[in-house]
Symmetry: C3
Subunit: 437 residues, 3 copies
């Protein structure tokens, strides 16, 4: 096929001219404009959220020791790829089932709109299937990325990836359907705009279950109860990852408006951009100031996690708050991270990158904070949702982790952990020329 250009080719007759869709009796922009804009929103927000996979990989790769970086990269590109396949195979239609009792229905493979779908056959009040599928798919991958960070530096590759299969194909879609698939929590009035609970807490609960079953890294907690900090190997990379996640979050929250074809919708998308940015900034500044006060020295990893906690916090309701409200919500997220990272250590739950404080604790906060700005939300319903997602995801995850532990083992041998997973499991160092690791 020819790529048509302005010069007017001799071959122009061969070309499928774009405006043919506007033949005499075709619908005009008043009818198709919203569909086009919303489909574009999903494509654009989708590639932004896709890029969060790189953000998680860089954040986690920067926060682990250099001897485990190749493994962390392998897990992250692996989990994204598996999520993409599982969500097509079963996840998308499990989460958004056509025939649904409100609790549970397993769907089949995703089928896209036909090529060049006619306006008459398209969901003109929404968007194309392909864009919707792609947009929802990148969300489930984010959930899996959260788990990969918490369990770094000691979990075996394949059990982790098998957990991802179950998480992205079944667990996340089933619980997701309760809310976004029009299930019982949605009917009850639970409110979670872009997934503080549905995405982030779910990832956090799965990570928490895994961290408990897996146990802490060797040397993290001394016999005397002392917590030994294990510094990340590359804070420039971790910072890059945080900025990429922040970038992706504009798609994460903005795309969750699910429409861009009216004055109100596109304005709301932009309102969400502004609020999302504000919450992240507030989380970062709060962590910066708080670590200065508490430890006399600002802590960059806390600042990075503060920004992320701000983002998670605003995710349940990025639209309704004022900018000042977004600032408050994000700031509380920053406080939560700074205060709960040491708390997990006291419980000897070893979360390598701080994923549980950021995604679970700030996710709970964000879900509760909805009630301050959204008059349709009630504390009871929000807590019901939080508990429901927590119980289901934590218990289901525990079961899967225990099965994996029993069947194939989930933790590398002690010697392999000390030598680093890169050499023992993969035979390939990430920085073969630099590392003293």
């Amino acid at each position: 096929m020819t790529r048509y250009t302005y010069t007017g080719l001799a071959a122009a007759a061969l070309i499928a001219v774009p405006q043919l869709g506007f033949a005499q009796d075709a619908p005009g922009f008043d009818e198709i404009g919203p569909y086009i804009m919303t489909t574009l929103l999903f494509c654009m927000a989708g590639f932004l959220v896709f890029f969060m996979a790189a953000g998680f990989a860089m954040l986690e790769g920067g926060l682990v020791r250099s001897k485990n970086v190749t493994m962390q990269m392998t897990k992250n590109i692996g989990l994204y790829s598996i999520a993409a396949i599982m969500y097509w195979l079963v996840g998308f239609n499990t989460m958004y089932p056509g025939d649904f009792n409100g609790y549970f229905a397993i769907g089949g493979q995703t089928v896209l709109d036909p090529v060049g779908v006619a306006a008459a056959d398209a969901a003109l009040d929404y968007a194309s299937v392909g864009s919707d599928f792609f947009f929802q798919l990148v969300f489930v991958a984010a959930t899996a990325s959260i788990v990969s960070g918490a369990l770094a530096e000691r979990i075996k590759l394949w059990p982790f990836l098998i957990f991802v299969v179950v998480l992205t194909g079944l667990m996340y879609p089933i619980s997701g359907s309760w809310q976004w698939g029009g299930g019982w929590l949605s009917e009850m009035g639970f409110s979670d705009f872009a997934g503080s609970t549905v995405v982030h807490s779910v990832g956090g609960w799965a990570a928490l279950a895994g961290a408990i079953v897996l146990g802490p890294r060797i040397g993290k907690y001394g016999k005397d109860g002392k917590v030994n900090p294990i510094p990340g190997s590359n804070l420039a990379l971790a910072t890059l990852g945080t900025f990429i996640l922040w970038l992706g979050w504009f798609g994460f929250n903005g795309g969750s408006q699910l429409a861009m074809g009216t004055v109100g919708d596109v304005s709301d998308v932009s309102r969400i951009f502004a609020n999302t940015n504000m919450a992240a900034a507030a989380g970062a500044v709060t962590a910066l100031i708080l670590t200065q006060i508490m430890y006399k020295k600002p802590d960059l990893t806390m600042v990075l996690n503060g920004a992320l906690a701000g983002l998670v916090s605003i995710t349940a309701e990025p639209l309704a708050p004022t900018l000042f409200g977004a600032l408050l919500i994000g700031a509380v997220g920053g406080v939560i991270v700074v205060l709960t990272v040491p708390m997990l250590d006291k419980l000897k739950i070893d979360d390598v990158v701080g994923a549980i404080p950021v995604h679970l604790f700030a996710g709970i906060w964000g879900t509760i904070a909805v009630i301050f700005y959204n008059s349709d939300a009630s504390l009871t319903t929000q807590l019901t949702g939080i508990v429901a997602y927590g119980v289901f995801t934590f218990v289901a995850s525990l079961i899967v982790w225990f099965i994996l532990k029993a069947v194939m083992g989930i933790r590398v041998a002690e010697e392999d952990e000390i030598n680093g997973l890169d050499m023992s499991e993969l035979g390939m160092e990430a920085y073969p020329e630099f590392s003293k690791g």
Copy 2:
């Protein structure tokens, strides 16, 4: 709330259907299309310019020594976050004041459009407040990033961040209002499309003032007048940063068209993309060839800065030039960087990343070059604007830097500088396993 999908849910009745905005007497796309497209332009350009914060962080993190990388990361995420808060608190409405004498008016907090704003209440001839605010906000953050690069490796964290508070909340918005807020320079006919002067020179002047007050790094200038090069620790990171900045510049210049809803406007946005890209390419190639000729070896850091100087140069007028004009403008930018980096060293002004040549000198050139392609611009007016921004920003910055120096000191102790700011100020190395730094 439910995420509506194509399958037609039982719960569909619950859903706020996107096309409701097109109820019987709602305005059609001929009326609302431009508003939607321009709001989208600001969102899209906004996230691209947001990502420049990561670009600056990586560029600067790559050009400092490894012992100062954590500090550079902390400064960059900190400054962006502070800029976001200050611009909301006072900056945006100071820069775009409603009741304005043309010189100075302090505004209050930014108030977004209401949720789901009706077409009748929206600025249909422009864009949503949220998108406009977000787009302008990411510009002010860029200004602050310029300062952070020049003053790296010796400035204390908190005085720097306090300077950012003043720069982003007051200095930049006040001088910005002269031009983009419809103030006296705008009325005089000064022309600066996307901010060669309003953004980049301003950052450069603030950096220059800081570099003079702060003094050079220990060991940079020998007692014999010899200039000791201090190589950056990670040129892959610096290259990544440059590419990210180049990417962001499509939003920086393209978004400054401020409209995308007509044939002329969207074509102009694309024209700006093409010209912006050409100027960057020309700046890079010029620096490549020139360093080959002058030093017999191409200098990567000069090539990176050459690309950036090309970008800064085209920023004052990315629309009017032909592609060949953009090439010439960018190429001169590349020449300026190669020639002025050594010049600053002769003056013993220590600019760690070359921010002053790139943003100030190329910014001045770009502002002058407007007269070659924009017949509405005059040399006198352009020079008036350049001088006005220079005097105001340089003097105001000097005053702030001197106050900070007097009140709390702006420079770390000699021993701390030698040991690196990461350990002395933050207690956290960026590359704890690698560095010999």
Copy 3:
């Protein structure tokens, strides 16, 4: 000029109000909407594909040894910049010639639409020249990036850049015109949607010719026939590069729909997004499983190249396949990479980053796979196109490489290669504080 804001400035009268394009007798959105959307598609897809330049740089910079990283960065920013200039000077109008015999016509400089082009003067059935030029330009840069990876760690800078001049100014545009310029292959019915052959194989053939003429790196192939693996210096960077390329590919394939202003077109763009993502995921998972089976340990560099091979494979026909079809096409791409990387080594063709398996071999596969999903394509025609591009590009490249070898030499001295190109050719290390090189 003023930046108009919602507050209603005193200076508002100065402002070119966006909606002026909708004066009484101006065309409405039904007429101009498709032009606006397609121009936006090219701008958006264009910046995504632009960012692939960073992706290639990071991928290649991560896969070479640290002593050659500065050189790899210099080559990649240099080649992009040269491509941008050459494609303007001659390439674009050679590839999309107005007066054309179907085989060969050299065009002149690209001329953009005038500023603020009127609807009556614009290509309303397509998009603005600036957007089209920018979108096509970033493709040619990708071709050149492929060559840079394969020939890393031993080629001199300037001969490489001169090859890029010829490749991007003449070779790629001439052969590209056969298909996308409406030339003989297009008339014959050859089908290559986004460039598995036109872009990727061409880059691969040019790289193959170069690798043969240049010879392998010192120490890569032992006298006893043993292949010595030379590990990359930074797998985190290589992973980042792969994610960036994956991101950019949404623009690469999605933008190649060349239209976004109808229900069918925008749905097709989203369908392409979903298929592109699936093929990449399948390529990655396939390589993960296959290297586990073959070598007992998953190989991250193979997984990265597997994802890329999946992307190249789907590029010839990202629209027609179902998601399952995309999975199969991508999975075969992953298999190809895992099997052909060792094959090249047996032939002692030293391809540093695996560019030839990924871009050439998977590109051939993708071009053949078109026949399974596109009933307009025939095996004979597809093979004709593959062979035509192969013969032309390989022979022309060989000639250019031999001329460069004869005239100025293309390979650095043995001692310089051993010491690393960074110190010998550029005098600047990428990681001066870390490397044991």
